[in-house]
C-alpha cells in the first residue's frame, strides 16, 4: 500500500530506497514496470504514463526498463547464454526466439557482457549450476542486454554474502556510469546504500519520510524510517 508518493528520478545516478520490510519498497519498484498494477496515480517514463499504457505499449516500455531481482529469477533450466538472450525477447518474434535465431549482434553483445561480468567460461552452463553471486551477475547481464534506459533492482544483494554484495553493487554502479542510465535500487543494507547511492529515499508505512543525499542521512532519520533505536547502537 503506497500513499502520496511523488518522486522524480534524473537521467543518471543510483537512488537507494530504504525502509523496513513490508513498507512497499518492492511495490514501488514494481509499479514502475507494472509487475504490480497501481490502483491509481501516474508513472511517467519517457513522457508516457506507464500506468495507462495498453498491453502492447507496456511491452515496448518494459523493453527499455531492466530489472534485477533479489533471488536472481533466472530461468534455471536454461543456459547462461539463453538467460542473457531473454533480455532480447522483446525485440525478436516468438518463433525466432523459440528457434534460437537471434541477430548476430545480440549474440555478440551477450558474449561481450559475459566477458564484462567475468562469466565467459560459463556461457553454456545451466543457470542452476551457478553460485549466488554468479547468478546475480547473469541477472545483471540479462538486464543489460535490454540496453535499458532505467535499471530497477529489487534487493539485489539480500541473498548474497557481504563481499559479493559489494561487488554486485560496484558492478551495477560501473555499468550505470559507463552506459549512462539511472538505477533505482531497493536495499536493506544502509551501509551499502550510503556507499554506492547518490541519493537515498527512506520509506515507512508506504510513505516517503526521507529524500536526500546519503551524507544527509542521520541516525534521527533512520529512527524515523525503521522505528526504535536499540539496533543503531
Amino acid at each position: 500500500m503506497l500513499r502520496g508518493i511523488d518522486l522524480e528520478f534524473g537521467e543518471r545516478g543510483i537512488t537507494a530506497v530504504i525502509g523496513p520490510s513490508g513498507t512497499g519498497k518492492s511495490t514501488l519498484i514494481r509499479c514502475i514496470n507494472r509487475l504490480v498494477e497501481p490502483t491509481s496515480g501516474e508513472v511517467i517514463f519517457e513522457n508516457q504514463d506507464i500506468a495507462r499504457l495498453s498491453r502492447s505499449a507496456l511491452r515496448l516500455a518494459r523493453r527499455r526498463i531492466g530489472m534485477v531481482f533479489q533471488e536472481y529469477n533466472l530461468v534455471e533450466r536454461l543456459t547462461v547464454m539463453e538467460n542473457l538472450l531473454c533480455g532480447r525477447l522483446g525485440y525478436v518474434s516468438p518463433l525466432q526466439a523459440w528457434l534460437r535465431r537471434y541477430p548476430a549482434r545480440d549474440i555478440e553483445r551477450a558474449f561481450e557482457l559475459l566477458d564484462t561480468v567475468g562469466l565467459a567460461a560459463h556461457a553454456q552452463a545451466r543457470a542452476d549450476s551457478l553460485s549466488g553471486g554468479q547468478r546475480q551477475r547473469v541477472g545483471i547481464a540479462r538486464a543489460m542486454m535490454q540496453e535499458p534506459k532505467l535499471l530497477l533492482a529489487d534487493e539485489p544483494t539480500s541473498s548474497l554474502d557481504p563481499k559479493t554484495s559489494v561487488e554486485i553493487m560496484g558492478l551495477m554502479k560501473s555499468l550505470a556510469d559507463a552506459h549512462g542510465f539511472p538505477v533505482i535500487v531497493n536495499i536493506h543494507n544502509v551501509e551499502l546504500a550510503r556507499r554506492f547511492a547518490d541519493r537515498v529515499v527512506g520509506m515507512t508505512g508506504g510513505q516517503v519520510v526521507f529524500d536526500g543525499a546519503p551524507a544527509a542521512l542521520t541516525d534521527e532519520h533512520l529512527k524515523a524510517i525503521y522505528g526504535g533505536e536499540d539496533w543503531l547502537a
Partner: protein, 264 residues
Amino acid sequence: MPSGQTRGVRLAFPVNWWARAGWVLFGLYVLYAASQLELTPARFATGLEHGGRFLARLFPPDFHRWQLLLKGMVESLQIAVLASAIGVLIATPLALLAARNLMPAWASWPARAVMVLCRSFHPVIVAILFVKAVGFGALAGILALIIASVGFLGKLLTEAIEEISLKQVEAVRATGAPFLSVVSYAVVPQVFSRFIGFASYETDANLRNSTMVGIVGAGGIGGTLFAAFQRFDYDFVCAIVLTIIALIMAGEVLTMRVKKVFRA
C-alpha cells in the same frame, strides 16, 4: 509456558480421536463388505480349482495363426501411437489455457471443463460411443484414446504448469517479452522434463488400452482376443496375451530410453 497449558501435562503428540474413529469405521466396513460379497475362504477355494483347469487349457500357447495376431498387434500399436501423438498436440495448448496461474478464469474454466468431460468415462465406454458414431474399426479406437489422452495429459500438464516458479516468469515478462516468448522461455523449460514423463506414461497407457478397445469393435488386437475367448480357443488367447505382455514390456524399455535422451 503459554497460557491455556498451565494445567500440567503438555503432550508432544496429542491423540487425534477423529482419525482413530475413522480407522475403526473403515476396518468395520471392509469386514462388512467382504461378508456381503461372500468373500470367504471356501468360495476362494472353488475359484482356485476352476482357475487351475483354465490355466491348464491356456498352455501350450498356439502361435499357428500368427498372421492374424500380427495384424491385430500392428493395428493396436498404430492406434496407440496416433492417439498419443494427436492427444499431446491437443492437450498441450489446452493445459496452457487451463493453468490458473497464467490464464484468467474465463479461459481456464472452459479448458478445465473440457478435460473433466474427457475423463468422465472409461476409454472403453467412449470407444462404444465412437463405434456407434463412426462405425467399426480403428478410427473409433483412435478417437476414443485421443479423448482419454487429452483428459489425463491435460490434467497432469496443467498441474505441472501451476507448480512452476512464477519468479522466473516475472523476470522474463519484465524484459517486455511477448506472451508466447514468456511461455517458451519461462514456462516450457520448467515443465519440459515432467512433460516428457507424462507423455511417455500416456503412450504406455494408450498401448494397454489399444489392446482393449477392440473388444467393443474399435480396432486392434482386442477384437481377435475377444473372438478367441468366445470360441474357447484358450491356447490362442494365451498366445495373444503373451504377445501383448511382450509389447507392453518393449514399450516400457522404449519410454525409458526416450526419457534418458531428454534427460527427464
